[in-house]
């Protein structure tokens, strides 16, 4: 490079720092720091009387009530590195589904645990994004979460590369986690204690600017789980006598998912349409489809409303049954509603109020699921939060 071209390179670089060209980029380090907070409460609906098994006197129809506080800080720590710290705490109390029993007429009814369960969960995640060049970045992440009976430690590493014209980006991400399950009152209920679960995930993503109002991204993800994958608090009814056995699942699970997202801006309506689709499949033969459609509509320059609808549909796991008429050769039993075949629909409405220094938001969600399992859940969620930006 000649002496004179050096001047052009140096001045252009200093000018870029000032944001005088190409402030619009697919990604890149921003100067602003952002602090966000969100409070959420969600309430699972009481189990309907018609689906509730009253035999156990201690059991309760009142399901979980959960309160969550989330914090997020994002900001540069050097010219080329951004730090993201997120933390959340969650407190929950209520009864949870225990196992499914048959009424005298043979109708499946949900047996619930007592209402005394209460727990709290805290998690912390740190992520560093390092931009080595304008088109290349590396991501390092660490996460830890803990609750009374469960702890999880995870590490992640990712790489992202954009084309020179910033139209296309590929992402590669690898991560792994080790979780430990220490069921409460393990001795009393003969529950598992000190069980380990491992997971390793790999994902590959591709995103593109299709035209001036359309962005698309797609990713494929594999995750391999091994170790204790059962639910220590659940039982399954086995045989005609109403005997129960602990929930027991294979100690391996491989999952594959394909995700597709589109973001379309509609200039005449000053709004953005979000469409997300996920196909999911695992080695327990659960297959699911998730569709989510959101409309970000700018009412004025300061007010934005976001209605969203989500549809989810899954098939049941191969070894799942509401109850088992006889023992299984493989020894797997689970009547967890999460492994049953069901559909779920959720509606969400969010309002964003922009101010000079950030945004305030409030959101409501209603989630309903429909299937043959008596313990399928319905819940309402309310969130209020803000995100503040500063130099």
């Amino acid at each position: 490079m000649g002496e004179k071209c050096k001047a052009l390179a140096a001045l252009t670089a200093a000018a870029m720092e000032l944001g005088v060209v190409g402030s619009v980029r697919a990604s890149g380090l921003e100067d602003t720091k952002r602090v966000s907070y969100k409070y959420t409460q969600y309430r699972e609906a009481d189990l309907p009387v018609s689906k509730f098994h009253t035999e156990n006197r201690l059991s309760s129809r009142s399901r979980y009530e959960i309160d969550i506080h989330q914090f997020l800080y994002q900001g540069p720590i050097s010219r080329s590195t951004e730090l993201k710290v997120s933390a959340s705490t969650e407190t929950m109390s209520g009864a949870s589904p225990w196992y499914v029993a048959r009424s005298s007429e043979g109708i499946p009814l949900q047996v619930m645990s007592g209402a005394t369960i209460s727990d709290s969960r805290t998690d912390l995640e740190l992520a560093l994004r390092n931009y080595t060049t304008a088109t290349r970045e590396y991501i390092y992440s660490f996460s830890y979460s803990t609750e009374n009976d469960y702890s999880s430690l995870g590490l992640g590493y990712g790489f992202s590369k954009s084309s020179e014209n910033q139209l296309h980006t590929i992402d590669l991400m690898a991560n792994g986690a080790i979780d430990q399950v220490d069921a409460t009152e393990a001795d009393v209920y003969d529950r598992k204690d000190g069980e380990i679960k491992r997971s390793i995930g790999l994902s590959f993503g591709f995103s593109s600017i299709i035209h001036q109002n359309l962005l698309m991204s797609s990713s494929i993800n594999y995750v391999l789980y091994s170790g204790y994958l059962s639910d220590p608090y659940k039982l399954a009814e086995v045989g005609e006598e109403g005997d129960t056995l602990p929930d027991s699942r294979p100690d391996n699970k491989n999952q594959f998912s394909w995700e597709l997202s589109a973001r379309r801006y509609l200039p005449t309506r000053d709004s953005a349409l979000h469409l997300d689709y996920r196909f999911y499949q695992n080695s327990w033969e659960v297959e699911s489809h998730t569709f989510e459609l959101g409309w970000y509509f700018n009412l004025t320059s300061n007010w934005q409303i976001v209605p969203k609808v989500r549809y989810y549909s899954q098939t049941n796991a191969a070894f799942y049954q509401l109850f088992y008429t006889s023992t299984r050769a493989d020894g797997y039993y689970s009547s967890d509603y999460r492994l049953s075949e069901f559909d779920a629909v959720s509606f969400k409405l969010k309002v964003n109020r922009k101010v000079d220094f950030g945004v305030f938001n409030i959101a409501l969600e209603q989630y309903n699921s429909d299937g043959s399992h008596p313990g399928l859940v319905e819940f309402n969620r309310l969130s209020v939060g803000f995100a503040l930006e500063f130099e």
Partner: protein, 69 residues
């Protein structure tokens, strides 16, 4: 099947995107055009749906925690 989907998708992506000039990217830079405009909402969505359904998203690190019901 999955691979075909993926390849088709990549193919669709690369058609006709060559002409988006820097000055035409203003709309794309709007916050509501982000893949996750509210990261806290996104994180909680994943956590909650994961606790109610058999599926989970790509990242193995979704914070763990099975005890939600």
């Amino acid at each position: 099947m999955q691979l075909k989907c993926m390849l088709l998708c990549v193919l669709v992506f690369t058609i006709g995107c060559e002409s988006v000039k820097p000055w035409q990217r203003g709309n794309l830079a709007r916050p509501e055009m982000s893949f996750a405009p509210d990261p806290l909402e996104r994180a909680l969505d994943e956590h909650i749906y994961f606790s109610k359904e058999a599926s989970s998203s790509g990242s193995a690190i979704s914070g763990g925690g099975c005890g939600c019901n």
